[in-house]
């Protein structure tokens, strides 16, 4: 083998080695890239699952909260109905009281008339009966006080039930944003 032939063979061998190394590196890089893509895909699947689980959990909590709030709304609707019944009862009670008061006033007038006659008879009999008591004058004031009491009770019940209803409505959560 001449020197020229030996150099050509060496160059050929080196070229082959370089091609082999480049091919190996390229193959390694391709495998590495494929592995990275697989890991990335698995991570994305895992993250998506975690997000879905968190969303399901939040949704479950919201549904529980909504159920409890709806139960509260039902209770307060029942309370409002009771308030209306109380108002009706109070109105009946007020009516009964007025009738009772009218009877009492009548009895009082009769009694006062008897007192007045007795007073006159004692004077005619030369006895000192003392001053004739004033006729009762408290009726209107008492009636007004009772009416004001009942009105304030009704106003209080109505205002509190309405405030409770508004609180329930305000605390009702908005539905969560659903992502595709």
């Amino acid at each position: 083998m001449t020197d020229g032939e030996g150099s050509a063979a060496l160059v050929g061998a080196l070229s082959s080695a370089v091609v082999l190394v480049i091919g190996s590196v390229a193959a390694y890089l391709l495998q590495r890239r494929a592995a990275d893509q697989k890991v990335q895909a698995e991570r994305e699947v895992r993250d998506a699952q975690l997000k879905r689980d968190a969303y399901d959990e939040a949704l479950s909590q919201y549904q529980g909260l909504i159920a409890r709030l709806e139960a509260q709304v039902e209770r307060h609707d029942a309370a409002a109905a009771e308030a209306r019944r109380v108002v009706e009862d109070l109105q009946r009670f007020n009516s009964d009281c007025r009738e009772e008061a009218a009877e009492q006033r009548q009895a009082l007038r009769y009694l006062y008339e008897q007192v007045r006659r007795l007073h006159g008879a004692m004077i005619a009999g030369k006895l000192d009966p003392g001053p004739l008591p004033d006729p009762p004058t408290l009726r209107e004031r008492h009636t007004k006080a009772e009416g004001e009491f009942l009105a304030r009770q009704v106003q209080q019940s109505t205002a509190l039930v309405e405030a409770a209803r508004q609180d329930v409505e305000a605390s009702r959560p908005k539905p969560p944003e659903v992502k595709p």
Partner: protein, 123 residues
């Protein structure tokens, strides 16, 4: 704040309890003075809110019983009532009782609770 609500009106009691609980208070309830005394024998609240006109033992009677006992003598009390201003029942209330006339809202009640706590002596 631990609050004992005493009122014979079921509607007002339930609504007030709900509203106060929604504002972070620990609320217990009683329908009259006797039921309130029973609850107070177990737990002392920070303040008692009591309606004046009730069956069994009314608000004035309950306040008298509270002031008569060493354990509850200095318990802050807010008296709530629909009695008209100038009613005899309001005039005989102890000076350290905070009075709130109906109708009131929760904000006004919370102000009254704060006033009662400021004026009340530690138990």
């Amino acid at each position: 704040m631990r609050i004992l609500l005493v009122d014979d009106s079921g509607v007002q009691l339930e609504a007030l309890a709900y509203l106060l609980q929604g504002r972070g208070h620990d609320v217990h309830t009683a329908a009259n003075g006797l039921a309130a005394l029973s609850k107070l024998s177990v737990h002392l609240p920070d303040v008692v809110v009591v309606d004046l006109v009730m069956p069994a033992l009314d608000g004035r009677g309950l306040i008298e019983r509270l002031r008569a006992e060493e354990r509850t003598r200095n318990l802050p009390v807010v008296a709530i009532t629909a009695l008209p201003a100038g009613d005899h029942g309001l005039a005989v209330l102890p000076a350290d009782v905070t009075l709130l006339r109906k109708p009131f809202d929760v904000a006004q009640l919370e102000e009254a609770l704060a006033r009662a706590l400021e004026g009340g002596m530690p138990c």
